[in-house]
Amino acid sequence: MTELKPHSKITIANVSRRGLLKGVAATGSLVLAAQLPGAKGAFAAYPTGAQSMPNGVVTNPKVFVSIGGDGIVSIVAARAEMGTGAARTALPMIVAEELDADWARVRVVQSPGDEKTYGNQDTDGSRSVRHFIQPMRQCGAAARKMLEQAAAKKWGVPEGEVEAQLHEVVHKPTGRKLGYGELAADAAALPVPADDQIKLKDASAFRYIGKGTVRITDIVDITIGKATYGQDVVLPGMKFAVIARPPVVGGKVASLDATAAMKVPGVEKIVRLEPKPAPAKFAPLGGVAVIAKNTWAALKGREALKITWDDGPNKVYDSKAYKAELEASIRKPGKVERNEGDVDQALAAAAKVITAEYYAPHIAHATMEPPAATARMQGGKWEVWAPVQSPGGARDDVAAAVGVKPEELTLHTTLLGGGFGRKSKCDFAIEAALLSKEMGGAPVKVVWTREDDIQHGFYHTVTAERFEAGLDAANKVIAWRHRSAAPSFMANFVPDPKHPGDIELGMGWVDSPFNVPNIRMESGEAQSHVRVGWFRSVNNVAHAWSIQSFIAELAAQLGRDPKDFLLEMIGPPRIIDVAKSVTTPWWDYGEPAQTFPVDTGRLRRVAELAAEKAEWGKQLPKGQGLGIAAHRSFVSYIATVVHVEVSDKGAISIPRVDTAIDCGFCVHPERVRSQLEGAAVMGLTLAKYGEISFKNGAVEQSNFNDYQLVRIDEAPKETRVYIVDNGIEVPASGVGEPGVPPFAPALCNAIFAATGKRIRRLPIGDQLA
C-alpha cells in the first residue's frame, strides 16, 4: 500500500460547479478541485519539480471531477493534447483509476487557459505525467472517499463497511449497492476529507494505470473527422486571414501597394502589423494581413500585395558564414560550464589526443497542422481558440496584446495537430486577436500555410560541437573537453545572451555521465539572428548526436566494440553529482536531484537491454551495420540500436530499430510505445533531411519539397520498444521527448559500421552518395 503523506498546505474544496464547468450536464453533481497552492512539499510520496515551477501554482494543477445524476463522470483535462496522449488520456485515466470509475462512463472535458484556476498548463518538457501522476491520484482518491462517505451516511452504516468498486459503492456486509450517479449529489454536499483520510489504491489493484488498454480519448473523433484542431475552428460570420510576414526577423514594411489585393474578390481588408523589437518573446513578426471571406481569397489577395521590405540588421544572417563563425568559436577557449580535474594538463600529458567536430543545422517543427487561431470579441469579452501548448501563458500574452486583463479573455484550447515545441509560442494566437480587433471584434481565423510555417518559425538552434579526448598509454580516456556553440533560445526573452542558459546546458551536456577524471565543458559565444525556439528534445538532439558519435569514433580508433566502449565510458553504476562541478546552477529538467539523480546504472541497463534485444554482435551482410547510442533526457534513460542498410548508391534503409526506455513507473505502456515508434521516424527525418538554412537573413526552404519529412516507404520497417518494468515507487519520468536524441547517433554509428563513413555534419543528405 502506498500511503500519501499529508500536507497542510493543500486544501481540497468543494467549488461551485457552475462557475467551473460550463457545458457539463448539470444534475446532482460533485466537483472537486485539488488546490495545491504555492509550492513546497505537496501531497506526495516523492517531491518533483512540480513544486518549484514558476507562477505560484504552476506546479500544482487543480483537477476537476464532476459526476452527473446519470453516473457520467466528467474529468477536466487542463493541459494541451498534442498527440502524446498525456493530457486527454493518461491524466484523466489516473483520476478515473483512483476514483474507481468505469472508463466507459468517463467524459474528458477540456479546460480553458487559466492557471489561477487550474494550475500549470504548460504542456512542455515531457512533464505531464511526471508532475501530475501524484496530484491526479490524490484527487481521484479523495473523490472516491467522498462517494463512500455519502453511501455510508445514506445507509447509516460505518464507513469501514463500504467500498467503492467500479462506479458503484458496495455495502460489504449486505451486498447493497449505490451507483456513483445516485450518490453524486450527496457526495458533493460533503466536506472534502482531510488528507490523512485519503488512501491511494494499491498498485496491484490498478485497472487502467500501467496496463496500456485504455485507448486515446479522441480516437473516434479523429477517425471520423470530428476532432477539432486550431485550423478547424468555425464560427458564424468568421473571416479568414493570411499574413505576409517579413522574410527577415525584425524586418519592416518599407512600402506597400495593396490596390491589386483589394480587387481580389472576397478580400475585405488589408491590415499592417508592426513587429516588436527584440527580445520579443512570442510576439508576432508583423507584416501585412489580408482578411477575406475565405482562405483562398485571402491567399490570392496576399499574392497580389506589392511589398518592399526594410530587412533590418538580421539581413546579414547567412548559414554558410555562420557555420564558420560557430566553428571559430569552438576552436578557442570558451566559457567554462563544467570542470573536473585539470583538462589542459591531462590533454598535454596524454599519449594521444583524438579530436572531432560536428555541425547540426537549424530545423523546423513542421507540425502536420500549421499554426492557426481564431479570435473574436463580443461585448468586451474576448474569446480565442488556439492549438497552444501553454493555454494559460497564451491567454496572458494574447490579453496583453489586445490590452485587456486575462480575466476578460477566454482561451479555448483546441486539439493540437502536433506541437513539438512550436506551439509553445503563441504568436499566431496573438495575430488572430489583433486582426479581430481591427475588424471590430468580428471572428477572424488566421491560417498559416506550410510556407509560412517553414519560413517564419521558431527554429531549433544550430550548433557546432568540438571534442578532444586524451588517452593514456593504456588507451584509457583520461581527459574529455567538449566545446559547444549554439545561439540560445533565451534571446527571445533577454537581449543577446551570447551563451546558453541553464536549461540548454542541462540538456544532455553538462550532465554527461562519463567516467573520466578530467572533464571540461566550454560554451562558445553565439549570437541569435532568428527566432530560436525549442524543438522536441531541444539541445539534447545535437548533444546526444555529437557525444554518442564521438564515443563511437573513439571506439573505432581504439579497435574496440562500440557498445563495450560506451559502457566503459559510462562506467560503473553510480550517481553523478553534476551540481558540484558546474558553473551555472544545474537545472536537471527542473527536478529535485534526490528524486531524479543522474544514475549511470539505469543508463547502462537500457544500453545493455537494447543491445541484447538487437542481438548486438550478430553477423550482417556487407553494407549493413548496427549502431548504438544511449542518452538520459527529461530524467528518463533511453538507448537505441539502429540496424541500417546502405546501398551502393548511398540510399539508407532501416530494417529494424530496438529501443529500450527506463521512464520510471510507466502509466500507459501502449502510448509510450507509440511515442518511441514516432520518435524513430522523427529522429530519422532530422538525421536524413533536417535543415533550415538562411541566406540574406531569409529561410531558403519553403514546403515539403525542400524541407522533406520521412515517408512510410523510408521509415524504419520495424521499431521494437522495451520498457524497463518499474514499480510505482520509481518516479515516473519523461516520455514525449527522450526517444528522439539517441536515434540520429545510433543511425550514424550504424552507417559507420556499414560503410566506414563517419557523418560529422547533419543532415546526412547526399553525403553517402
Binding site: 471520423i224 497542422e369 491560417v447 519529412l709
Partner: protein, 150 residues
C-alpha cells in the same frame, strides 16, 4: 456555376472556379475533417475521393469537381465504421491525429481497388501521406488488418 455531390448531397457553387476543393469543403461547407497541410499536393492530409478515386483536394479546382461526386471522411461510411476506421481504432494508430483522416481516405481507396494488397503495395500507396508524428508502422498494420477484415 459548378454542381457537384458531396457525400451524396447535391451542392451548387458559383464562386471562383479556381478555388481548390479543399477550401470549398473547409471554408464554405465547414466540413473540416478534410485537413490542410501543405496546399501543394505533398502531404496527403487533404485526401478525399472524387468519383471514387483518392485525390488531393488542395490540387482539385472547383471547375474540375463540377459534375463529380466527392466523398470526404465525414461520408466515408454511414455509421463511421468502415473497416479502415475500425482497424485504425483497434490498432491505436493516431498520435496527434491531424494526418489521419487523409491516411484513412487514402487507405480506403486502396482497399476498394485492391482488397488484398501486398506489403509493398501498401507502402507504395501510402507514400504520399505524411505523418509528422511517425505513426507509419501502425498505419501499415491497420491497413493489413482492415484488408483481412474486408
Amino acid at each position: 456555376m459548378a454542381n457537384l455531390q458531396v457525400n451524396g448531397q447535391a451542392r451548387a457553387y458559383d464562386g471562383d472556379p479556381s478555388m481548390p476543393l479543399l477550401w470549398y469543403l473547409r471554408d464554405e461547407l465547414a466540413m473540416t475533417g478534410t485537413k490542410f497541410g501543405c496546399g501543394v499536393g505533398l502531404c496527403g492530409v487533404c485526401t478525399v475521393h472524387l468519383n471514387g478515386e483518392a485525390v488531393r483536394s488542395c490540387q482539385v479546382q472547383m471547375s474540375e469537381a463540377a459534375g463529380k461526386s466527392v466523398t470526404t471522411i465525414e461520408g466515408l461510411h454511414p455509421k463511421h465504421e468502415h473497416p479502415v476506421q475500425v482497424a485504425w481504432r483497434d490498432i491505436g494508430v493516431p498520435q496527434c491525429g491531424y494526418c489521419q483522416t487523409g491516411q484513412i481516405m487514402n487507405a480506403a481507396a486502396l482497399l476498394a481497388k485492391k482488397p488484398a494488397p501486398t506489403d509493398a503495395e501498401i507502402t507504395a500507396a501510402m507514400a504520399g501521406n505524411l505523418c509528422r508524428c511517425g505513426c507509419y508502422p501502425r498505419i501499415h498494420a491497420a491497413i493489413r488488418a482492415a484488408a483481412k477484415g474486408a
